[in-house]
């Protein structure tokens, strides 16, 4: 909650007695029934909120009328409506993260039916020699439970790997794991990235990683608004069981052409926007591409060195010898955003959006045994390891403000994610050679149609109704040695959902959101009811209590392919109700927040009970056995997540930031894999994040520190020997309990600084950023390889286990320049 809410709370009374509540409820209900909502002196105010510089509509702006405290939030197209506002003497306050708060007095001169307001972006208007109350805030904790707003424009002040990245910034929030730097996917409150509903202008995005997961696939320069629901989300969202990230792309400057160019040590980024001729509309094009495959900058070299340094060479464990290895990853990525926006009259907005992202990673390597042992033999292991993945999506959106009280949005979208992974291990010993290979291909196609209706029934009630249809088609291929078909699936499934929810404010200090979502999933031909409820109580001006409960279902699953010796990979499949069940989750959240002008203390405790979790494992199967039914190797399980998260935020002044702590436990039970419960792969008990931003004149300094206790992994723990019936001795590897080993703790410090200046009409910013300042060698995963032969003679020997610690990024300096004209 921000200063704006503080002001509102000043007008609220202290926590009333139960009898008082009953009287108020009775009075309220009576008035509602009799339809006596408005008096002669009260009016309805509606309009549109836009950016003063670009005229872009601003969604999710909080509007309140004082002294009556009528409030509203602008919808996705910036429209807002306030009911029953006294015609004279009222003042409207508009508050939006990253923008200057605006106060407008009602004096009877303004058209209340077209009450259009322009807000000033702090990044544009702010005198750089000063700081304002809102100037340095990157996040805003909503008074709604588990909801946070992000200001992409302010994220540039945080340390980064060269790119302002929305998902990386989200990982600095409590409840969202910040130690998964190998993936920009979000692990929210014990959930996995596939359990998050990622929406970009209504498009479902299935995979968000760019470039080793260093960046997300979303260009922050093309994003206008980000709303994050960490749990307990309302009925209008569905299809995922963990969280929602709802992003709205910029629609482009409606007043003048503008270009924003950013370059750093890894990639270049251009955003061009222009108003359309002859019509009231705009067009925006954003393109970003890495040039790591063309120019190897020091930043790239840092990453390269990290991958190839000595601590990632294979090391023998206890006995046996290892070889010397080298990994030279070659990679590039690009992404493209385009948006055409048309304002058709004062009520209709039409937009056409396009999104494309692509990654190509070649992680091939050569391991020379002969050279490693100082021998003159040509003994080597050549590994071809190529991974390609990307998203393509487009959406068409038509929004119409039918009346000040009724807003409707129709959306049609297509989204595709595809991945292709190929691994070939070729062993060579002089003239002899043999090879093993595996190939995995996965493709998801998503067609979604949505209609969302918002109807402001009265000052106390806002009704939302909607329909949602999604059709998925998934292909998954898994080959071994070019000929052994492990899996070859083509699946088609659809679900249709309908929802209704009411945001009900019976009193000034109580707010309820009651909703129900109904879904029919055609693959299993079952109906699913998902009730949702959230409650907000504000007993005093600084204190609020909150709670939420809800049920959630998910019909598409990211399957974890357990690979003990090579790290786990994943792929997507539809739930079929048999080997892959429909995922379900129940969220229970309670919390409290105490907020003053300068500080916010927010605590939330949660429990999520999950069913229908799936893991796919070859632990008990033989991939070369073509007679085996591999659907039997899907293991169904349940999970329970418990946690508490704590946020202390300093919001005002030159120094701002927050301290976040999360304590959580993610425990899975998969009877088919292990009798006893075990920690999930992403179970991280303790996580601390400290974020600080300091503004001084034209400079902005920042630092982030993340500490997290080690993540679990499954390790081969020993070897044993059995005498076979023929008398031969045979060694076997014993694998420990699932996820019973823990990696060392993860921690890192990032710092950044930037300087803003103008040259002519251009607004410029240069900055440096250092990721992992003290070069902590955090471990991504441990890789194990069994060596059964002597690399000198190539004759069979005792089994030896080679362990490789695959590290995450070491120190990575970066430099960026941003030019805006």
């Amino acid at each position: 909650m921000n200063s704006f809410h503080q002001e509102i709370l000043l007008h609220s009374k202290r926590f009333p007695s139960f009898a008082f509540v009953l009287r108020r409820l009775y009075l309220f209900t009576s008035l509602s029934i009799l339809g006596l909502g408005l008096s002669a002196q009260e009016v309805t105010i509606s309009g549109k909120i836009t950016d003063s510089e670009t005229s872009e509509s601003l969604p999710y702006v909080h509007v309140v009328a004082l002294p009556g405290m009528q409030s509203a939030t602008s919808n996705i197209e910036g429209y807002f409506t306030l009911l029953a506002v006294p015609k004279k003497g009222s003042r409207l306050i508009f508050n939006y993260l990253g923008y200057r708060r605006d106060t407008i007095w009602l004096d009877g001169s303004k058209n209340l039916k077209e009450f259009n307001v322009e807000l000033v972006n702090e990044a544009v208007e702010l005198d750089v020699f000063e700081y304002s109350e809102e100037s340095n805030q990157s996040i805003e904790s909503s008074e709604e439970i588990s909801k946070i707003s992000i200001n992409p424009a302010q994220l540039q002040n945080l340390p980064n790997l060269g790119e302002v990245d929305i998902f990386r910034s989200l990982q600095l929030l409590p409840g969202i794991s910040g130690a998964n730097e190998s993936s920009s996917g979000l692990y929210v409150r014990g959930g996995t990235p596939d359990q998050n509903l990622i929406l970009l202008d209504g498009m479902n995005i299935y995979h968000v990683d760019h470039f080793f997961g260093i960046f997300s696939a979303f260009n922050a320069n093309a994003i206008k608004d980000v709303q994050v629901y960490k749990g307990g989300f309302e009925a209008k969202y569905g299809g995922r069981v963990s969280s929602v990230v709802d992003m709205t792309a910029k629609s482009g400057n409606l007043k003048k052409p503008a270009i924003n160019v950013t370059a750093n040590m890894l990639s270049a980024n251009v955003v061009a926007e222009t108003p359309l001729p002859f019509v009231n509309g705009s067009f925006l094009l954003a393109a970003r591409r890495s040039y790591t495959d063309i120019l190897r900058s020091p930043t790239y070299q840092s990453i390269f060195n990290n991958v190839t340094e000595a601590d990632q060479e294979d090391e023998p464990l206890g006995f046996g010898i290892g070889g010397s290895g080298s990994v030279e990853p070659d990679f590039f990525f690009y992404d493209l955003n385009a948006k055409l926006n048309l304002n058709l009259g004062k009520k209709d907005v039409v937009s056409l959006n396009f999104f494309n992202s692509r990654d190509n990673l070649d992680n091939s390597s050569v391991q020379d045994f002969g050279a490693g042992l100082g021998l003159d033999t040509d003994s080597k292991l050549e590994t071809t390891d190529v991974t390609k993945w990307g998203n393509t999506g487009t959406s068409f959106k038509w929004s119409r403000q039918w009346s000040p009280k009724i807003f409707n949005r129709v959306l049609a979208s297509y989204s595709q994610y595809d991945s292709d992974y190929e691994l070939i291990d070729k062993f060579t010993f002089d003239t002899l050679s043999f090879q093993f290979s595996t190939q995995q291909r996965n493709k998801i196609q998503d067609i979604t149609l949505r209609d969302d209706l918002e109807w402001k029934l009265s000052e106390q009630h806002k009704l939302s109704l909607g329909l949602w249809f999604t059709r998925n088609e998934i292909d998954y291929l898994n080959f071994i040695d070019d000929s052994v078909e492990v899996q070859n699936q083509n699946e088609i499934g659809s679900y249709i959902s309908a929802y209704a929810q009411d945001e009900w404010s019976p009193t000034k200090w109580l707010k309820l959101n009651v909703g129900m979502r109904f879904t029919q999933y055609d693959v299993v031909k079952e109906n699913y009811f998902e009730p949702r409820l959230s409650v907000l109580v504000k007993p005093t001006k600084n204190f609020r209590l909150k709670a939420a409960w809800g049920r959630y279902n998910q019909f598409i699953n990211r399957i974890i392919l357990e690979n003990i010796f090579g790290g786990s990979r994943d792929f997507w499949l539809l739930a079929d109700g048999e080997s892959i069940p429909v995922q379900s989750s129940e969220h229970i959240i309670v919390g409290a927040a105490f907020e003053t002008k300068d500080f916010l203390i927010d605590v939330e405790a949660y429990q999520k009970t999950n069913t229908g979790l799936v893991e796919y494992s070859l632990r008990f199967g033989d991939p070369y056995d073509t007679t085996q039914n591999f659907n039997d190797l899907f293991f169904e399980g349940t999970g329970i997540v418990r946690g508490i998260e704590f946020l202390l935020q300093k919001k005002f002044g030159a120094l701002t930031g927050w301290l976040a702590y999360t304590l959580s436990k993610v425990e899975y039970t998969f009877p088919g894999l292990q009798e006893t419960p075990f920690p999930a792969l992403h179970d991280q008990r303790n996580e601390v994040k400290l974020i600080g931003m300091y503004k001084w004149k034209r400079f902005a300094f920042s630092g982030t520190y993340v500490y997290a206790t080690g993540k679990p992994y499954t390790a081969p723990v020993g070897i044993y020997e059995i005498t076979l019936l023929n008398g031969y001795q045979q060694k076997y590897i014993h694998v420990g309990d699932k996820n019973s080993s823990r990696l060392p703790a993860y921690h890192r410090l990032d710092i950044g600084a930037n300087y803003s200046f103008n040259i002519g009409k251009t607004e410029n910013k240069v900055g440096i950023s250092v990721f992992n300042v003290y070069n902590r060698k955090n471990i991504k995963y441990r890789r194990f390889q069994i060596q059964n032969f002597d690399p000198q003679t190539f004759l069979p020997t005792e089994s030896k286990l080679l362990q490789t610690d695959v590290n995450l990024l070491g120190i990575v300096p970066n430099f960026f320049i941003n030019i805006r004209f």
Partner: protein, 88 residues
């Protein structure tokens, strides 16, 4: 607030307790039983943990070993020496 902090510390304390999966405590049983023949080559050894110095299995010579067949227990005794073998 102080109580809340105490509770918080307690929770952290409990959260740091973990079960161990000690490979040194894993027992390997190796042997064959044939009908009508004496048992003399049942062997118990410890798992050879990765990361250790030894490449041979350490025999277990002091275990209580018996075969349970339809509710009747047939004890085995150590074969002698540091072999890990047990016999009937």
């Amino acid at each position: 607030m102080r109580q809340l902090l105490s509770l918080f510390c307690l929770v952290v304390l409990f959260a740091s307790c973990e079960k161990s999966d000690d490979p040194a405590k894993k027992v390997v049983l190796d042997g064959y039983i044939y009908a009508g023949e004496p048992i003399d080559d049942i062997r118990l050894t410890k798992l050879i943990p990765f990361g250790g110095e030894d490449s041979t299995a350490e025999p277990i010579n002091d275990a209580l070993v018996f075969i349970d067949w339809r509710g009747t227990k047939y004890p085995l005794v150590p074969a002698g020496g540091d072999s890990g073998f047990y016999k009937s």
